[in-house]
Symmetry: D2
Subunit: 343 residues, 4 copies
């Protein structure tokens, strides 16, 4: 069996979660997220974000979270602004448009949006009522390119959105990896203050499934549960999501898991840098995009699975390596060994 660096959802879940599922298994509980585990998990999250007025909802996956959030917030004629690399643009089978909303795409260098990126989009959408109305800014942290937002960047963007009556929504499928990156200066508390809505991704950080959607803007909280149910996303056994987030939040397991993923990716990164390998983008999370010679890629592919991300020239391509909460030294060391031998 080859070891896979293709993504961070190749394994099951952290053993603590399975233990908790076993521990509580036969205790009867109310359905639809009214169980005591879900209630406790929500309480814990509120403590961590230090915002008692936020509302929290558990949803099975990222595409589901994105489509429910966006379709709940926007009026039919309002649209989303996203970096062209945004997960909602290219990787969700048009899930957002399927709810009726256009996404305006902005080219960026590193997957991050700035006020300067958004200004021309607003300027080009003033032909009322013949154009959609931009209303929600979608960002990912960490981004689909592995980069992260710094605190001053988020503050600027948040202020800009408020000034322009735009909602700021952060896709946090890999928020754990962003917040535990060695270059991060943002706290969970900051994010709860600076965004209208965001989510803490479980699926890509050690849960079997599940994202915790956190609505900070109280105007957007009303009746949100109706939207979850209507989209078929309200699990009868909501306990499955509640128990997982309870475990992840306790003792900061959530952050320890992403810390490990980041650490293992950075180990490979440093080994490659020592050999003067270049990267498609500079990242400090669990995604790295080294540019490798095709021969070396072929050799690595005999023992490892990963995506070839972008052809650079006749001799080399960028590959994408993703580490997970469960990637251990054995995997990364054997990868590095090949690098060290070959370069």
């Amino acid at each position: 069996m080859k070891f896979s660096f293709k993504n961070d959802y190749s394994e099951g879940c952290h053993p603590n979660i399975l233990e908790a599922l076993v521990r509580y298994n036969l205790i009867q509980q109310p359905g639809y997220s009214e169980d005591e585990y879900s209630l406790k998990a929500k309480k814990l999250i509120k403590e961590k974000i230090k915002n008692d007025t936020s509302e929290i909802y558990f949803i099975s996956g990222g595409t589901q979270a994105n489509l429910i959030v966006i379709s709940s917030i926007l009026k039919p004629y309002q649209c989303v602004i996203s970096a062209s690399t945004g997960h909602i643009l290219n990787n969700e089978t048009g899930a957002i448009e399927a709810t009726g909303h256009k996404i305006l795409s902005i080219e960026t260098e590193n997957g991050k949006l700035t006020p300067e990126d958004i200004v021309p989009v607003l300027e080009n959408h003033t032909n009322i009522p013949h154009q959609v109305m931009p209303k929600l800014v979608y960002i990912s942290n960490s981004t689909e390119l592995g980069t992260i937002y710094h605190k001053n960047e988020l503050e600027k963007l948040s202020r800009f959105c408020k000034e322009n009556k735009l909602y700021l929504f952060m896709d946090g499928a890999r928020l754990g990896h962003a917040l535990t990156s060695e270059i991060n200066d943002v706290s969970l508390e900051d994010i709860a203050k600076l965004t209208d809505i965001f989510y803490l991704g479980g699926t890509k950080n050690g849960a079997l499934l599940g994202e915790a959607v956190i609505i900070n803007n109280t105007n957007l909280q009303e009746d949100f549960a109706f939207n979850i149910k209507q989209k078929g996303a309200l699990l009868a056994k909501g306990r499955v999501l509640g128990i997982q987030f309870l475990e992840l939040m306790q003792n900061d397991l959530y952050f320890k898991l992403s810390e490990n993923a980041n650490l293992q990716a950075m180990k490979i990164k440093k080994a490659l840098q020592k050999k003067n390998v270049e990267f498609l983008s500079e990242t400090f999370t669990n995604q790295i995009f080294p540019i490798l010679d095709h021969q070396l890629i072929d050799l690595l592919a005999e023992k490892f699975e990963f995506y070839i991300w972008k052809k650079i020239d006749h001799h080399s391509s960028a590959v994408r390596l993703i580490t997970s909460w469960n990637t251990d030294d054995q995997a990364t060391d054997s990868f590095i060994e090949i690098i060290d031998n070959q370069l």
Copy 2:
């Protein structure tokens, strides 16, 4: 703690499932239902329905299954026919209409649809193009009232649908309970022959979550996975669903679990019948609707949770009792003890 007869999803899942989740937990697998457990589970289901041309997809819950199936099959102007008790009509927050499709409701005595029920609906929808076009017949087995379809009823309905170019879709959230009912004469194989599409419900029969959607009509199979993804229902860790159905299908665990649920409900039913208690409808599955005196209801409510379903007169109401895969003798015996003492 009161024991709950409110529904069949109050507990977690059958222990075999948790053991399997632990067993396979750290083995890396491809995402999005391409894992080996999902593939094996699909193979097992195909063997059980004795139809190799059916396609099988795992989806998290019933509302999700209903909305994806219906919105995938129908053209925008086509609509659904359902008994007025249908789950899609009253218990899914308009999920079907939210995908653009009207549901025509038919009053029935027992939650089951017959060709005779449907004929007038077709006759009243001939003002082309000013009315929706009826195209899909939605039935539940067992129904929301606990009743089940007999083989000759299903055959008639299936033939009628074919003759009238209607699709027949069976909501099988409680299909296990129907097929293991003491009065059942239908096999899984029959259902695969007589319906265009149906599902095997896991959530209400011992799984943590999950329904297995089975598309028998090969014309309806094309590109179905796109629809699942677009509705946010394609789990990254599809293994979670695959492992569960693998366990449920092995050694017919699925049917043993619903058998227990039925058995426990029938035990209570017989105890009540001995005392000449009447029922709202005659059922042979895990849902019973006895009509009880309000004083007795109050007394039972001290030890048990259940829904008061329908007020009958000043003195009595029908209650709904649902047993599950995990309901044991202790629970039903203590319920029967009160009945025996009081009546």
Copy 3:
């Protein structure tokens, strides 16, 4: 050629309208309802409803008006309440559901809704968030059965809606006929006060096409034009609608036209009543539903077109006769002549 009593849109439009279209034809005007005729027509309507804060929009037809109004007002999980005879339920090819909203149908005797009809619907929709949320009450005046609302009925319904946070929307495809009925006691001003939104139908009252949507509730006015454009309903040559409503509003032509339609229907009604003919419902507008012997129906059908509405018994059926702004004495007299000769 047979004379048609099938509907009130068999002819073109009142000659004044064509004259105005000719008169203004070659004058250049801005597009999209910014032309001076549209602005003047809106001003005139505001004067007539005596409410300067209402906003007015011209839309081509009734189904279009209904679907734009409803989909603009409601959030995805909110639904409509309508009498079972409502045009939106049976005659618009599921246009409302196609925008994502369920319609709850209420059986009525005469096509009119009362608070008493609505109370049980609200009581049956309290299982949050598993059911749609009733939010908008749709009524027609005159109704699809030709009946009309009296002032005290509208006042009660309006008060009830406000108390229950429901919007009241009046489909006025035949509002002219209601307001000029001999038994009417409601004014246009009353309607602007008692409803959140309503429309003045042009198509069934002497225009080529066009309905004037009037939004009285200022909370519902924001950005309405975006919805019109997004649904493809914003005519480039908005002047076509503006000129028509300008003509219809001037000198109360609108009401004179419906007065004629009502008068001609009442003439036939009285002739039939003299012969002791019974009616399916008692109406005082331009729709009548006499119950006639099949032989007589056949005889009338040789000279006139009309719909057979409902079979009553082996010998007789109710037919529907509709008169229009352009129906003249010659048509009704020749109809009455047959009646007089045969009965």
Copy 4:
């Protein structure tokens, strides 16, 4: 009053149309496009396109036509490919996305799509089922930049679409102008052969309102009328559209009208070319985009209305001038006079 070159829908309609509306006004006709004028107009169009198996439907406007066609043809997960200048992308308030379908945008030099443009889009959409499926190619002729497709270009594109199982849909809001352009080599017959579906625009070519949608691919014809009705686009008095297209088709009035519009635009173009004025794009239809000095623009703006299309540098901008079926020598001569005096 300034003369407007802002668009081609500033005036009413060609007098012949009004005369016909008057002529047929009081003749009773069936509703919903079953009137004899609509039937005759459809027959005439079929003769002109020399294709008796095409089906024809009249719809009020371009956005309406685009959204009904696209939402009728595509399955939920299928998407549209369009040049970035496509009307559906920027000028229809997200009408297409509101029906659930994504539009993939392609940058072009001149508003026209080629197979070479489309190939990379197809190549980038192979990650099944995580991306939308490209299925319909939307083109405009003439384009939003005034350019037109040559026969060999259309043939190549049509062949490419067939080979790749893509539908080819031509927005013909200004098809008359394309077909009467001095450089055109395409016939109406060619278009009926090379596209799956297209429309003949009336609104921008002398009608009060109306587009004739022509479905050539017989697989796409089934039940189309349901879609029109469901979107609120089926006029009760369909005669209004039928009479207009009857007049436009008779004696080729339709083409004479666009010929005049083109002629007047070309007159201005030649006058500007004589003065060595440059243009944003080279066009031979009724839209021209000359690049003028700001001082001259200000001077012209005193007597004429037009859009400033794009700033070129500190001194000059491109303006858009559109002529119509009704633009006469007086208007263009007085424009040219200023040009001649100033340059």
